[in-house]
Protein backbone atom coordinates (compact mmCIF):
# COMPACT_ATOMS: atom_id res chain seq x y z
CA UNK A 1 0.00 0.00 0.00
CA UNK A 2 3.04 2.18 0.13
CA UNK A 3 2.77 4.81 -2.52
CA UNK A 4 6.01 6.36 -3.51
CA UNK A 5 4.38 8.18 -6.38
CA UNK A 6 2.74 10.56 -4.02
CA UNK A 7 4.47 13.76 -3.16
CA UNK A 8 4.27 14.24 0.51
CA UNK A 9 6.36 15.23 3.42
CA UNK A 10 8.17 12.41 5.11
CA UNK A 11 5.66 12.24 7.91
CA UNK A 12 2.82 11.95 5.51
CA UNK A 13 1.26 15.25 6.48
CA UNK A 14 0.21 17.56 3.82
CA UNK A 15 2.41 20.51 3.49
CA UNK A 16 1.93 23.58 1.49
CA UNK A 17 2.19 23.99 -1.44
CA UNK A 18 -0.63 21.71 -2.26
CA UNK A 19 -0.02 18.04 -2.56
CA UNK A 20 -0.26 16.79 -6.09
CA UNK A 21 -1.64 13.39 -6.75
CA UNK A 22 -0.20 11.19 -9.43
CA UNK A 23 -2.08 8.07 -8.54
CA UNK A 24 -5.41 7.80 -10.28
CA UNK A 25 -6.47 4.78 -8.31
CA UNK A 26 -7.85 6.98 -5.58
CA UNK A 27 -11.34 8.17 -5.71
CA UNK A 28 -11.34 11.78 -4.79
CA UNK A 29 -14.41 13.88 -4.49
CA UNK A 30 -13.73 16.74 -6.86
CA UNK A 31 -10.41 17.99 -8.12
CA UNK A 32 -7.58 17.05 -5.84
CA UNK A 33 -6.14 20.52 -5.69
CA UNK A 34 -9.37 22.20 -4.79
CA UNK A 35 -9.63 23.43 -1.24
CA UNK A 36 -13.07 21.93 -1.21
CA UNK A 37 -11.69 18.46 -1.61
CA UNK A 38 -9.25 18.95 1.19
CA UNK A 39 -11.96 20.37 3.33
CA UNK A 40 -14.21 17.37 3.11
CA UNK A 41 -14.79 16.81 6.75
CA UNK A 42 -14.99 13.31 7.98
CA UNK A 43 -17.60 13.37 10.67
CA UNK A 44 -16.40 16.76 11.70
CA UNK A 45 -12.66 16.30 11.45
CA UNK A 46 -10.58 18.76 9.64
CA UNK A 47 -8.06 16.63 7.93
CA UNK A 48 -6.20 13.50 8.95
CA UNK A 49 -4.07 15.20 11.57
CA UNK A 50 -7.21 16.35 13.30
CA UNK A 51 -8.60 12.82 13.20
CA UNK A 52 -5.33 11.47 14.55
CA UNK A 53 -5.36 13.98 17.35
CA UNK A 54 -8.85 13.01 18.29
CA UNK A 55 -7.94 9.33 18.29
CA UNK A 56 -4.83 10.09 20.33
CA UNK A 57 -6.83 11.93 22.91
CA UNK A 58 -9.06 8.92 23.30
CA UNK A 59 -6.04 7.12 24.63
CA UNK A 60 -6.38 9.47 27.54
CA UNK A 61 -2.70 9.77 28.09
CA UNK A 62 -0.28 12.59 27.73
CA UNK A 63 0.50 13.10 24.09
CA UNK A 64 4.14 12.68 24.95
CA UNK A 65 3.42 9.13 26.06
CA UNK A 66 1.12 8.23 23.27
CA UNK A 67 1.44 4.83 21.66
CA UNK A 68 2.09 5.58 18.05
CA UNK A 69 1.52 1.98 17.07
CA UNK A 70 -1.81 1.95 18.81
CA UNK A 71 -2.70 5.19 17.13
CA UNK A 72 -1.79 3.85 13.73
CA UNK A 73 -4.01 0.82 14.27
CA UNK A 74 -6.92 2.98 15.34
CA UNK A 75 -6.55 5.22 12.34
CA UNK A 76 -6.28 2.36 9.88
CA UNK A 77 -9.29 0.70 11.43
CA UNK A 78 -11.23 3.88 11.11
CA UNK A 79 -10.35 4.27 7.47
CA UNK A 80 -11.22 0.65 6.75
CA UNK A 81 -14.60 1.15 8.34
CA UNK A 82 -15.20 4.23 6.33
CA UNK A 83 -14.30 2.41 3.16
CA UNK A 84 -16.52 -0.47 4.10
CA UNK A 85 -19.33 2.01 4.44
CA UNK A 86 -18.39 3.31 1.01
CA UNK A 87 -17.79 6.74 2.43
CA UNK A 88 -15.99 8.92 0.03
CA UNK A 89 -12.72 9.69 1.73
CA UNK A 90 -10.80 12.84 1.03
CA UNK A 91 -7.48 12.08 -0.55
CA UNK A 92 -5.38 13.29 2.32
CA UNK A 93 -6.97 10.76 4.67
CA UNK A 94 -5.87 8.03 2.31
CA UNK A 95 -2.40 9.50 1.98
CA UNK A 96 -2.13 9.47 5.72
CA UNK A 97 -3.39 5.91 5.89
CA UNK A 98 -0.76 4.81 3.41
CA UNK A 99 1.94 6.59 5.25
CA UNK A 100 0.88 5.25 8.62
CA UNK A 101 0.84 1.71 7.24
CA UNK A 102 4.38 2.24 6.08
CA UNK A 103 5.37 3.66 9.46
CA UNK A 104 3.81 0.72 11.24
CA UNK A 105 5.66 -1.83 9.14
CA UNK A 106 8.90 0.05 9.59
CA UNK A 107 8.43 0.16 13.33
CA UNK A 108 7.66 -3.54 13.52
CA UNK A 109 10.44 -4.75 11.29
CA UNK A 110 13.88 -5.44 12.69
CA UNK A 111 15.79 -2.20 12.79
CA UNK A 112 17.25 -1.41 9.44
CA UNK A 113 20.47 0.51 9.84
CA UNK A 114 20.06 2.09 6.42
CA UNK A 115 16.73 3.67 7.02
CA UNK A 116 17.01 7.38 7.21
CA UNK A 117 15.10 8.92 8.71
CA UNK A 118 14.52 6.09 11.13
CA UNK A 119 10.97 5.02 11.83
CA UNK A 120 11.47 6.21 15.39
CA UNK A 121 12.25 9.65 14.13
CA UNK A 122 9.18 9.61 11.90
CA UNK A 123 7.06 8.55 14.83
CA UNK A 124 8.53 11.28 16.97
CA UNK A 125 7.86 13.81 14.27
CA UNK A 126 4.24 12.78 14.13
CA UNK A 127 4.04 13.01 17.87
CA UNK A 128 5.52 16.49 17.85
CA UNK A 129 3.06 17.65 15.26
CA UNK A 130 0.17 16.26 17.21
CA UNK A 131 1.41 18.07 20.29
CA UNK A 132 1.59 21.33 18.41
CA UNK A 133 -1.85 20.99 16.92
CA UNK A 134 -3.20 20.05 20.32
CA UNK A 135 -1.53 23.08 21.86
CA UNK A 136 -3.13 25.40 19.33
CA UNK A 137 -6.49 23.73 19.68
CA UNK A 138 -6.39 24.25 23.43
CA UNK A 139 -5.17 27.79 22.99
CA UNK A 140 -7.98 28.65 20.61
CA UNK A 141 -10.47 27.27 23.09
CA UNK A 142 -9.02 29.36 25.89
CA UNK A 143 -8.92 32.38 23.64
CA UNK A 144 -12.58 32.03 22.77
CA UNK A 145 -13.36 31.56 26.42
CA UNK A 146 -11.97 34.92 27.41
CA UNK A 147 -14.17 37.86 28.27
CA UNK A 148 -14.84 39.07 24.79
CA UNK A 149 -15.92 42.55 23.90
CA UNK A 150 -19.46 42.45 22.61
CA UNK A 151 -20.16 39.10 24.24
CA UNK A 152 -19.04 39.45 27.84
CA UNK A 153 -18.13 43.07 28.08
CA UNK A 154 -19.58 46.05 26.28
CA UNK A 155 -18.34 49.41 25.33
CA UNK A 156 -20.50 52.44 25.82
CA UNK A 157 -23.76 52.08 23.96
CA UNK A 158 -24.04 55.62 22.73
CA UNK A 159 -20.74 57.43 22.87
CA UNK A 160 -20.90 61.09 21.97
CA UNK A 161 -17.84 60.67 19.81
CA UNK A 162 -14.87 62.96 19.60
CA UNK A 163 -14.70 65.37 16.76
CA UNK A 164 -11.99 67.68 15.71
CA UNK A 165 -13.31 70.57 13.73
CA UNK A 166 -10.91 72.50 11.62
CA UNK A 167 -11.31 76.16 12.14
CA UNK A 168 -9.71 78.72 9.89
CA UNK A 169 -8.08 81.63 11.54
CA UNK A 170 -8.09 84.22 8.80
CA UNK A 171 -5.29 86.69 8.59
CA UNK A 172 -5.19 90.01 6.82
CA UNK A 173 -3.50 93.24 7.76
CA UNK A 174 -4.38 96.88 7.49
CA UNK A 175 -2.04 97.64 4.64
CA UNK A 176 -3.28 94.73 2.53
CA UNK A 177 -6.82 95.96 3.09
CA UNK A 178 -6.15 99.55 2.12
CA UNK A 179 -3.95 98.56 -0.77
CA UNK A 180 -6.64 96.25 -2.10
CA UNK A 181 -9.14 99.08 -2.01
CA UNK A 182 -6.75 101.38 -3.78
CA UNK A 183 -6.28 98.81 -6.48
CA UNK A 184 -9.98 98.27 -6.90
CA UNK A 185 -10.50 102.00 -7.25
CA UNK A 186 -7.59 102.39 -9.60
CA UNK A 187 -8.66 99.48 -11.72
CA UNK A 188 -12.20 100.65 -12.13
CA UNK A 189 -11.83 104.41 -12.35
CA UNK A 190 -13.65 105.82 -15.42
CA UNK A 191 -10.69 105.91 -17.56
CA UNK A 192 -9.65 109.34 -18.55
CA UNK A 193 -7.31 108.00 -21.08
CA UNK A 194 -4.24 110.10 -21.01
CA UNK A 195 -1.73 109.28 -23.65
CA UNK A 196 1.41 110.13 -21.86
CA UNK A 197 4.54 111.34 -23.56
CA UNK A 198 3.70 109.66 -26.81
CA UNK A 199 6.31 110.76 -29.31
CA UNK A 200 4.12 112.11 -32.09
CA UNK A 201 4.14 114.84 -34.67
CA UNK A 202 0.65 116.11 -35.18
CA UNK A 203 -0.78 116.69 -38.60
CA UNK A 204 -0.90 120.44 -37.94
CA UNK A 205 2.76 120.68 -37.05
CA UNK A 206 3.67 118.50 -40.05
CA UNK A 207 1.63 120.75 -42.35
CA UNK A 208 3.38 123.80 -41.00
CA UNK A 209 6.78 122.24 -41.24
CA UNK A 210 6.39 120.80 -44.75
CA UNK A 211 4.82 123.96 -46.27
CA UNK A 212 7.48 126.12 -44.63
CA UNK A 213 10.25 123.99 -46.10
CA UNK A 214 8.60 123.91 -49.57
CA UNK A 215 8.56 127.70 -49.59
CA UNK A 216 12.35 127.77 -49.17
CA UNK A 217 13.30 125.15 -51.73
CA UNK A 218 11.70 124.64 -55.14
CA UNK A 219 13.64 121.49 -56.13
CA UNK A 220 12.38 117.97 -55.81
CA UNK A 221 13.05 116.69 -52.34
CA UNK A 222 12.43 113.32 -50.87
CA UNK A 223 9.73 113.21 -48.23
CA UNK A 224 12.17 111.82 -45.68
CA UNK A 225 14.23 114.95 -45.95
CA UNK A 226 11.36 116.91 -44.45
CA UNK A 227 11.59 114.98 -41.19
CA UNK A 228 13.35 116.38 -38.14
CA UNK A 229 16.90 115.14 -38.64
CA UNK A 230 17.78 113.95 -35.15
CA UNK A 231 14.43 112.62 -34.04
CA UNK A 232 14.06 109.41 -32.11
CA UNK A 233 12.92 106.46 -34.20
CA UNK A 234 9.43 106.59 -32.67
CA UNK A 235 9.05 110.26 -33.44
CA UNK A 236 10.42 109.69 -36.94
CA UNK A 237 7.75 107.14 -37.66
CA UNK A 238 5.08 109.48 -36.44
CA UNK A 239 6.61 112.40 -38.34
CA UNK A 240 6.82 110.34 -41.53
CA UNK A 241 3.15 109.43 -41.33
CA UNK A 242 2.12 113.00 -40.52
CA UNK A 243 4.36 114.49 -43.21
CA UNK A 244 2.94 112.08 -45.79
CA UNK A 245 -0.58 113.11 -44.94
CA UNK A 246 0.55 116.75 -44.99
CA UNK A 247 2.06 116.25 -48.45
CA UNK A 248 -1.19 114.76 -49.74
CA UNK A 249 -3.09 117.69 -48.25
CA UNK A 250 -0.73 120.25 -49.83
CA UNK A 251 -1.03 118.47 -53.21
CA UNK A 252 -4.81 118.58 -52.88
CA UNK A 253 -4.63 122.30 -52.20
CA UNK A 254 -2.41 122.71 -55.31
CA UNK A 255 0.53 123.86 -53.28
CA UNK A 256 2.78 120.88 -54.03
CA UNK A 257 3.51 118.15 -56.57
CA UNK A 258 4.18 114.51 -55.73
CA UNK A 259 6.20 112.05 -57.73
CA UNK A 260 7.08 108.44 -57.17
CA UNK A 261 8.79 106.56 -59.98
CA UNK A 262 8.34 103.07 -58.68
CA UNK A 263 6.33 101.27 -56.07
CA UNK A 264 7.92 101.72 -52.65
CA UNK A 265 10.41 104.02 -54.30
CA UNK A 266 11.32 107.38 -52.78
CA UNK A 267 8.41 109.83 -52.68
CA UNK A 268 9.51 113.11 -54.19
CA UNK A 269 7.92 116.42 -53.32
CA UNK A 270 8.18 119.87 -54.91
CA UNK A 271 6.51 123.18 -54.17
CA UNK A 272 4.37 124.97 -56.76
CA UNK A 273 4.60 128.72 -57.07
CA UNK A 274 1.25 130.16 -56.51
Amino acid sequence: MLQHGVTMSEDGLIDSPAVTFNGDDWEIGGAATEDAALYLELDGWEGPLDLLLDLARRQKVDLRKISILGLVDQYLTYIEQAEALRLELAADYLVMAAWLAYLKSALLLPRDEQADPSPEELALRLQLRLQRLAAMRDASGRLLGRDRLGRDTWQRGAPEGLRIDRKNLWQCDWFALVQAYGQVKARTQPVVHMVRDRMVMTLDSALNRVSAMLGVNLDWMELRDFLPPHAEPKLRRSALASSFVAALELARLGKAELSQEQTFGPLMLRGIKA
Partner: protein, 215 residues
Amino acid sequence: MTIRQAQGEREMPDDLVRAVEATLFASETPMSAEAISVHLGGAAVKGALADLAAHYDGRGIELVERGGRWHFQTAPDLAHLLRREREEVRRLSRAATEVLAIVAYHEPVSRAEIESIRGVQTAKGTLDVLMEAGWVRITGRREVPGRPVIYATTPDFLTHFGLESRRDLPGIDELRAAGLLDPVEDALAAAMDVPGETDEPENPSGALESEDESA
Protein backbone atom coordinates in the same frame (compact mmCIF):
# COMPACT_ATOMS: atom_id res chain seq x y z
CA MET B 1 -27.16 40.41 46.82
CA THR B 2 -23.71 40.66 48.22
CA ILE B 3 -22.26 43.95 49.16
CA ARG B 4 -18.65 44.30 48.24
CA GLN B 5 -17.15 46.26 51.00
CA ALA B 6 -14.41 48.68 50.54
CA GLN B 7 -10.93 47.47 50.05
CA GLY B 8 -9.21 50.19 51.94
CA GLU B 9 -11.24 53.34 52.09
CA ARG B 10 -12.80 53.45 48.67
CA GLU B 11 -16.52 53.38 48.47
CA MET B 12 -17.34 50.16 46.71
CA PRO B 13 -20.66 49.88 44.96
CA ASP B 14 -22.84 46.90 45.67
CA ASP B 15 -23.83 44.51 42.93
CA LEU B 16 -27.09 46.24 42.15
CA VAL B 17 -25.39 49.58 41.78
CA ARG B 18 -22.77 47.95 39.55
CA ALA B 19 -25.45 46.31 37.45
CA VAL B 20 -27.33 49.56 36.99
CA GLU B 21 -24.11 51.36 36.18
CA ALA B 22 -23.14 48.80 33.53
CA THR B 23 -26.65 48.64 32.10
CA LEU B 24 -26.90 52.38 31.60
CA PHE B 25 -23.36 52.54 30.26
CA ALA B 26 -24.00 49.88 27.64
CA SER B 27 -27.46 51.08 26.69
CA GLU B 28 -27.81 52.81 23.39
CA THR B 29 -30.70 54.93 24.63
CA PRO B 30 -31.64 56.56 27.92
CA MET B 31 -33.60 54.19 30.14
CA SER B 32 -36.38 54.75 32.61
CA ALA B 33 -36.01 53.33 36.10
CA GLU B 34 -38.74 50.85 35.20
CA ALA B 35 -36.93 49.68 32.10
CA ILE B 36 -33.71 49.20 34.06
CA SER B 37 -35.62 47.32 36.70
CA VAL B 38 -37.18 45.02 34.13
CA HIS B 39 -33.79 44.46 32.58
CA LEU B 40 -32.36 43.48 35.94
CA GLY B 41 -35.09 41.05 36.81
CA GLY B 42 -37.32 43.37 38.76
CA ALA B 43 -34.88 44.85 41.25
CA ALA B 44 -35.74 48.18 42.83
CA VAL B 45 -33.26 50.51 41.25
CA LYS B 46 -34.16 53.98 42.48
CA GLY B 47 -31.70 53.87 45.35
CA ALA B 48 -28.98 52.62 43.08
CA LEU B 49 -29.66 55.41 40.58
CA ALA B 50 -29.44 57.99 43.34
CA ASP B 51 -26.19 56.47 44.56
CA LEU B 52 -24.72 56.52 41.10
CA ALA B 53 -25.82 60.08 40.42
CA ALA B 54 -24.16 61.14 43.67
CA HIS B 55 -21.03 59.16 42.90
CA TYR B 56 -20.59 60.67 39.46
CA ASP B 57 -21.42 64.19 40.57
CA GLY B 58 -18.30 66.23 39.96
CA ARG B 59 -16.56 63.60 37.85
CA GLY B 60 -15.86 63.84 34.12
CA ILE B 61 -18.98 61.79 33.49
CA GLU B 62 -22.32 62.34 35.08
CA LEU B 63 -25.54 60.43 35.41
CA VAL B 64 -28.55 62.54 34.59
CA GLU B 65 -32.28 62.08 34.46
CA ARG B 66 -34.13 63.70 31.60
CA GLY B 67 -37.85 63.27 31.30
CA GLY B 68 -37.80 60.27 33.60
CA ARG B 69 -35.07 58.50 31.66
CA TRP B 70 -31.51 58.11 32.81
CA HIS B 71 -28.29 58.25 30.89
CA PHE B 72 -24.61 58.90 31.33
CA GLN B 73 -23.15 61.90 29.64
CA THR B 74 -19.94 63.85 29.56
CA ALA B 75 -19.94 66.59 32.19
CA PRO B 76 -21.28 69.77 30.57
CA ASP B 77 -18.22 71.80 31.52
CA LEU B 78 -16.12 69.35 29.51
CA ALA B 79 -18.33 69.45 26.44
CA HIS B 80 -15.63 71.41 24.65
CA LEU B 81 -13.52 68.24 24.71
CA LEU B 82 -16.01 66.47 22.49
CA ARG B 83 -15.66 68.95 19.72
CA ARG B 84 -12.21 70.29 19.64
CA GLU B 85 -11.35 72.99 17.24
CA ARG B 86 -8.04 73.04 15.57
CA GLU B 87 -7.18 76.47 14.32
CA GLU B 88 -5.34 76.93 11.11
CA VAL B 89 -3.94 80.31 10.23
CA ARG B 90 -4.76 81.20 6.65
CA ARG B 91 -4.12 84.34 4.70
CA LEU B 92 -7.06 86.04 3.13
CA SER B 93 -7.03 85.73 -0.65
CA ARG B 94 -6.61 88.81 -2.79
CA ALA B 95 -10.23 88.63 -3.91
CA ALA B 96 -11.49 88.33 -0.35
CA THR B 97 -9.32 91.24 0.74
CA GLU B 98 -10.80 93.39 -2.00
CA VAL B 99 -14.34 92.46 -1.08
CA LEU B 100 -13.61 93.16 2.56
CA ALA B 101 -12.18 96.56 1.66
CA ILE B 102 -15.22 97.40 -0.43
CA VAL B 103 -17.57 96.40 2.37
CA ALA B 104 -15.54 98.49 4.79
CA TYR B 105 -15.53 101.60 2.59
CA HIS B 106 -19.06 101.36 1.26
CA GLU B 107 -21.11 99.57 3.90
CA PRO B 108 -23.86 98.66 3.90
CA VAL B 109 -23.48 97.18 0.49
CA SER B 110 -25.13 94.45 -1.53
CA ARG B 111 -23.32 91.78 -3.42
CA ALA B 112 -24.33 93.31 -6.72
CA GLU B 113 -22.88 96.62 -5.58
CA ILE B 114 -19.66 94.93 -4.51
CA GLU B 115 -19.43 93.36 -7.92
CA SER B 116 -20.02 96.57 -9.74
CA ILE B 117 -17.36 98.32 -7.67
CA ARG B 118 -14.86 95.53 -8.14
CA GLY B 119 -15.69 95.16 -11.78
CA VAL B 120 -15.45 91.42 -11.23
CA GLN B 121 -17.99 88.82 -10.27
CA THR B 122 -17.68 87.87 -6.65
CA ALA B 123 -18.01 84.24 -5.68
CA LYS B 124 -20.47 83.50 -2.93
CA GLY B 125 -17.67 81.71 -1.10
CA THR B 126 -15.71 84.92 -0.80
CA LEU B 127 -18.35 86.56 1.35
CA ASP B 128 -18.74 83.31 3.29
CA VAL B 129 -15.06 83.38 4.13
CA LEU B 130 -15.36 86.94 5.42
CA MET B 131 -18.36 86.03 7.50
CA GLU B 132 -16.53 82.94 8.83
CA ALA B 133 -13.63 85.20 9.75
CA GLY B 134 -16.14 87.24 11.70
CA TRP B 135 -15.38 90.47 9.90
CA VAL B 136 -18.49 90.84 7.79
CA ARG B 137 -22.11 90.22 8.63
CA ILE B 138 -25.46 90.57 6.98
CA THR B 139 -27.19 93.69 8.29
CA GLY B 140 -30.47 93.55 6.45
CA ARG B 141 -31.96 93.89 3.02
CA ARG B 142 -32.05 96.80 0.67
CA GLU B 143 -35.57 97.95 -0.07
CA VAL B 144 -35.25 97.67 -3.79
CA PRO B 145 -36.67 95.06 -6.16
CA GLY B 146 -35.29 91.67 -5.22
CA ARG B 147 -34.57 92.95 -1.71
CA PRO B 148 -30.91 91.99 -1.84
CA VAL B 149 -29.05 91.17 1.34
CA ILE B 150 -26.68 93.91 2.44
CA TYR B 151 -23.39 93.46 4.23
CA ALA B 152 -21.43 95.50 6.74
CA THR B 153 -18.34 95.05 8.85
CA THR B 154 -18.43 93.87 12.46
CA PRO B 155 -16.79 95.18 15.62
CA ASP B 156 -14.34 92.26 15.26
CA PHE B 157 -13.27 93.77 11.98
CA LEU B 158 -12.32 97.02 13.67
CA THR B 159 -10.53 95.13 16.43
CA HIS B 160 -8.58 92.94 14.05
CA PHE B 161 -7.40 95.86 11.94
CA GLY B 162 -6.73 98.10 14.92
CA LEU B 163 -9.30 100.70 13.91
CA GLU B 164 -11.29 102.90 16.26
CA SER B 165 -13.96 103.31 13.66
CA ARG B 166 -14.44 103.06 9.93
CA ARG B 167 -13.57 106.73 9.67
CA ASP B 168 -9.99 105.74 10.46
CA LEU B 169 -9.72 104.16 7.04
CA PRO B 170 -7.68 106.42 4.79
CA GLY B 171 -9.75 108.51 2.39
CA ILE B 172 -9.46 108.55 -1.34
CA ASP B 173 -7.17 111.56 -1.31
CA GLU B 174 -4.83 109.94 1.13
CA LEU B 175 -4.79 106.81 -0.93
CA ARG B 176 -3.92 108.82 -3.99
CA ALA B 177 -1.18 110.63 -2.13
CA ALA B 178 0.23 107.29 -1.06
CA GLY B 179 0.29 106.19 -4.68
CA LEU B 180 -2.31 103.54 -3.93
CA LEU B 181 -4.68 104.90 -6.53
CA ASP B 182 -2.21 104.73 -9.37
CA PRO B 183 -3.57 102.44 -12.00
CA VAL B 184 -2.17 98.99 -11.56
CA GLU B 185 -0.90 99.06 -15.12
CA ASP B 186 1.13 102.17 -14.49
CA ALA B 187 2.52 100.91 -11.25
CA LEU B 188 3.42 97.71 -12.96
CA ALA B 189 4.85 99.46 -15.97
CA ALA B 190 6.93 101.65 -13.72
CA ALA B 191 8.12 98.67 -11.82
CA MET B 192 8.93 96.61 -14.87
CA ASP B 193 9.95 99.43 -17.21
CA VAL B 194 7.66 98.03 -19.84
CA PRO B 195 5.28 100.54 -21.31
CA GLY B 196 1.71 99.84 -22.04
CA GLU B 197 0.56 96.30 -21.83
CA THR B 198 -0.76 94.74 -18.62
CA ASP B 199 -3.48 92.34 -17.82
CA GLU B 200 -6.81 94.03 -17.60
CA PRO B 201 -9.07 92.81 -14.81
CA GLU B 202 -11.50 90.21 -16.03
CA ASN B 203 -14.39 92.52 -16.46
CA PRO B 204 -13.85 95.17 -19.10
CA SER B 205 -17.19 96.82 -18.50
CA GLY B 206 -16.75 97.31 -14.78
CA ALA B 207 -15.05 100.65 -15.04
CA LEU B 208 -18.28 102.54 -15.33
CA GLU B 209 -19.76 102.11 -11.87
CA SER B 210 -17.30 103.75 -9.57
CA GLU B 211 -19.05 107.08 -9.97
CA ASP B 212 -21.84 106.27 -7.52
CA GLU B 213 -19.63 106.04 -4.50
CA SER B 214 -21.91 108.17 -2.43
CA ALA B 215 -21.48 106.21 0.75
